[in-house]
Symmetry: C2
Subunit: 585 residues, 2 copies
């Protein structure tokens, strides 16, 4: 019997035969979770050149090896496969209660294969007796929030729900996958890369995971784990970012910082700072939540047992929640980028996006392009909300916007579109203002995910190109490791530079004796697998770049451009000394 962890099974569900089967995790994968498992199985099982919405793609839902062991922030759920947005591999992760519940069923991953021949929508129920697949019936085309409320009422509160909104059912490329938080709000998004569309293409409207699982953790050295967990938690509690800034302001703390750096996307990426930034800042959000009392609060959490509590609940003026949580990326892409300076309006759009089931980053960028196309004006909240209505209805215009920024640009023949060449919209860290993000956005196998490596807090001159490639690459490797163990990336400001804290946990749980290089080697392994998948899918160096205008159009107020040389980009992958192998085209 394998030592350590307890989530050691995979549940395979075939949506053309409506059958399911459990299998044991391979020995070689027994420590791997989330992003690493997706990279492994995508390379093994998904033909890289397949149609992302066809029957050969798979939807892989994976958790980490540490779920259920009382370790903070370690129960993220990853959803992955081949992305219909980028054409490459994708892993998107979110919080919520599903990770822990999957662990209780011994499940490290659920792999959904094929698709129903009847083109109908189904709900998969997983409990201790196995999986049961039922027609979605009246749940079809239902918004995420109503769907979750209804499922919770019908099946009790002790369930985890993985669901898609109407956009996912319509297989739109901006569709995400949503998960319920501890209070039952279906608002934790595995947002990026169109994994909601892949889930829709499998005919799966929702997966309901019951809390009745009976698997128990098997820990190699309980005392060692206790000590390692204490050190891990203590470090997080002593770091100002994780102990003070995140709990108080959440990610909104970044608004004024990035605005002052000239790196907050504003008015469709024409400026790097927003005149009304103070109205949508971390302080403004803190004050709004504080003043309105009622349900609104700070220090909300997305996963049970989290000790960071970066989440928040934004209340309306009567104290009722509008959205939980409101994050920096939404504030910038839907706020400053669209000329919207009201946190209420931004929260409202966020709620609608979650309910339809679309990524706020991709949608904010697409709406900015829609302004450039002359469809509506910056700041026109009513028209923006009407456009979101068109997405929900699946009108031709709604389909255009719902497929994201690159598709919207193409539809209206606009070349100036804020995307990476793999076709994903740029998040709220403008790469002209923070040059390290140009490396992250262009080189990450995921496309323009800020979560792949956020560089703006690094001790670098962010206006210069020097050192950015190396910094972003090292950080991408490091983050990939945490992404592969089920951790929320928000532990990394505290523990990221002390790998021993994490390795001690792994060794205690699994009885292994990894040294401090374990994480870096794990991260490299994952990135290499992802690069291989992308090369096999036809994505190469030429696709590891950003939209042309970012090179040519200076961004006020810094008037910087993305000015890396081809060699700087190329060195990222063409460096066998770093990777230990050739990863050329």
């Amino acid at each position: 019997m394998k030592k350590g962890s307890f989530a050691l099974r995979i549940l395979r569900i075939n949506m053309s035969t409506f059958s399911s089967a459990y299998e044991e995790l391979d020995d070689k994968n027994f420590i791997l979770g989330n992003r690493a498992l997706i990279a492994e199985y995508a390379n093994l099982e998904i033909p890289a050149a397949c149609e992302p919405l066809g029957d050969k793609n798979k939807l892989i839902i994976a958790v980490g090896p540490l779920v259920g062991l009382g370790i903070t922030s370690s129960a993220r759920v990853s959803v992955g496969g081949k992305s219909p947005l980028t054409g490459g591999i994708k892993e998107a992760n979110g919080g919520g209660v599903v990770g822990t519940k999957m662990g209780k069923h011994g499940l490290r991953a659920i792999i959904i294969e094929s698709q129903p021949s009847d083109n109908q929508s189904y709900i998969i129920f997983i409990n201790k007796n196995g999986a049961d697949i039922q027609p979605a019936g009246s749940y079809e085309r239902m918004g995420n929030y109503e769907l979750a409320q209804s499922l919770l009422q019908q099946h009790g509160k002790d369930i985890g729900i993985i669901s898609i909104g109407p956009a996912g059912e319509m297989k739109m490329s901006s569709a995400g996958v949503f998960i319920n938080d501890p209070e039952g709000s279906q608002s934790r998004a595995c947002a990026r890369g169109g994994m909601g569309a892949v889930m829709g293409s499998k005919g799966v409207k929702a997966i309901v995971v019951s809390g009745d699982g009976e698997y128990k953790p098997i820990v190699s050295d309980k005392e060692a784990l206790k000590k390692a967990r204490y050190n891990f938690h203590n470090t997080i509690k002593s770091n100002p970012q994780t102990a003070e800034v995140y709990p108080k302001y959440g990610t909104a703390s970044a608004v004024m910082t990035l605005n002052e750096m000239g790196a907050m996307p504003t008015l469709n990426f024409t400026k790097g700072s927003f005149d009304n930034a103070e109205n949508i800042s971390g302080d403004a959000l803190y004050d709004l939540i504080t003043k309105r009392n009622g349900y609104g609060r700070h220090q909300h959490r997305c996963m049970q047992g989290c000790i960071i509590n970066c989440s928040n609940v934004v209340p309306d003026k009567f104290g009722n929640p509008i959205i939980q949580p409101l994050e920096y990326e939404t504030i910038s892409l839907v706020g400053s980028n669209l000329g919207i300076s009201s946190l209420d309006d931004i929260s409202k759009i966020n709620y609608i996006c979650n309910d339809i089931g679309i990524d706020t980053i991709e949608t904010g960028a697409a709406l900015g392009v829609a302004v450039e196309a002359g469809l509506l004006d910056f700041g026109d909240i009513t028209s923006f909300i009407n456009l979101l209505g068109e997405i929900k209805q699946g009108t031709p215009l709604g389909r255009i916007i719902g497929h994201g920024a690159a598709f919207t640009g193409k539809a209206f023949s606009i070349s100036r579109v804020p995307v990476c060449k793999k076709g994903q919209a740029l998040p709220g860290h403008e790469p002209r203002g923070i040059k390290g993000m140009a490396i992250t956005y262009s080189m990450s196998p995921m496309g323009a995910d800020h979560t792949a490596a956020v560089t703006f807090r690094a001790p670098l001159d962010h206006g210069k190109t020097e050192g950015q490639m190396e910094f972003s690459r090292n950080l991408q490797v490091n983050i990939a490791a945490y992404d592969s163990l089920g951790f929320c990336m928000f532990v990394t400001p505290a523990v990221g530079k002390q790998p021993k804290l994490t390795v001690d946990i792994i060794n205690a749980v699994f009885g292994t004796s990894f040294d401090n290089t374990f994480l870096f080697e794990l991260g490299k392994k994952v990135l290499k697998l992802e690069r291989r998948f992308n090369l096999n899918a036809g994505l190469n160096d030429k696709h590891d770049r950003l939209a042309e205008f970012l090179k040519n159009e200076p961004l006020p107020p810094t008037n910087q451009v993305v000015d890396f040389r081809e060699e700087d980009y190329k060195r990222f992958w063409h460096d066998p000394d770093f990777w230990g192998e050739h990863l050329d085209n």
Copy 2:
């Protein structure tokens, strides 16, 4: 002074400075025309990774070295650059009167660079004094036919017109470039790959080339040319295909042949033969034209001096022309593919497409996908015409269809789309029915152009894979040579196997002493340049394939699939013995 030819200049027009300048052709290019010149200049001057609709792409309009020498079918006009449809290099050619008129101005090519900062539309007038650029004014958004009539009235009949319709101005990816025929009908299409959108992105609505050019041909050996020309013409006049079939039936002669082979796209590529094929056959078209008398006639020609005369004029029941010409590709993609079995209806759609300025192949395929999306039904001519109206108006739905089949499939999240992976719709030679076409459509640097190499008349078993790669490759090389000398590919059934006929002409004109390998070497050179451009643009082996369903879905009535092995495809380029160099990724 260079020997031979007389079109030895390039006119460069910069659309941001509204300036123009002549330059002499490089010595090394003095025999190259059309496709070869585009390949040369695209590689030299267009950054392969650029945005196709951005200011760094160029629109190259090129003719051949033999214009004005009385040689049949040698005045084709090629339009090229980076394609917004495929993302790779593109050369699309058409007949009409422009080639000869460019030659009279000594012009081998016109290269249009940059784009106007005011986003306005312009008309370029070229006469013996140079180029003059005027605002398009009331011509903006005008259909091709009305535009040409108006320009001919205003500027006299002795002009050549290169124009785009509203679709090109809206930069839609299915937009072509149109040229007037000897009777002033703006119906000769450089249809494929979205070159109309590139012209639109340069702010050029039309180029008017006057007939007042005074350049005279310089022929090295007039007697030798006379003899070579006689042999060339005589061979064409003695070949049944070029002397009998084409003049009588035009390309519509292929309908019954391909239908019987089970290779005519029918009902959105679900069948290979059409129940009502006889209604839209070459015979049916011949009878219709014959019976209606009036203006209608066979043996029409697109270029002065052509001795093949494959074109036709389809009259309505009052004898007035509906369309000139009606070609097989339109009959299959707009006819059988959409369940339309009336030549009148097909002609009507063809007219509307030409007027809007879109490719009938790409549009027919996109409309087939629209049927699959549930927007309308097969055979519903009124709804199809309404949809074309939406393209003209640029509504969101019109923009979707106007960007072609792949884009339409993506918008409606349909994976089953009849395209090559470079994103271009398949023409009317079903690759499951004629397997050599699978090689042509997948491997041609142009994407799915049937004109790159039509294999169905070859002495091969078209249901088997054996020998198809070699046959298509050799033919692609051969055709690329004729495409590079300004020839219409319809000379090749007669002269294609006797290179001496063409080489004698070249040697007589230029005083050269090429041997019979000249054409094959020229063709290889061109394909290699095109492959280089595509590799630099990010298109590689992975993009040299066809849509997945063609491998998996048997095509009735033959129930064949595209079943080439990866090695068969790969050998096409990865063959240094054939190409003389490595053309790997």
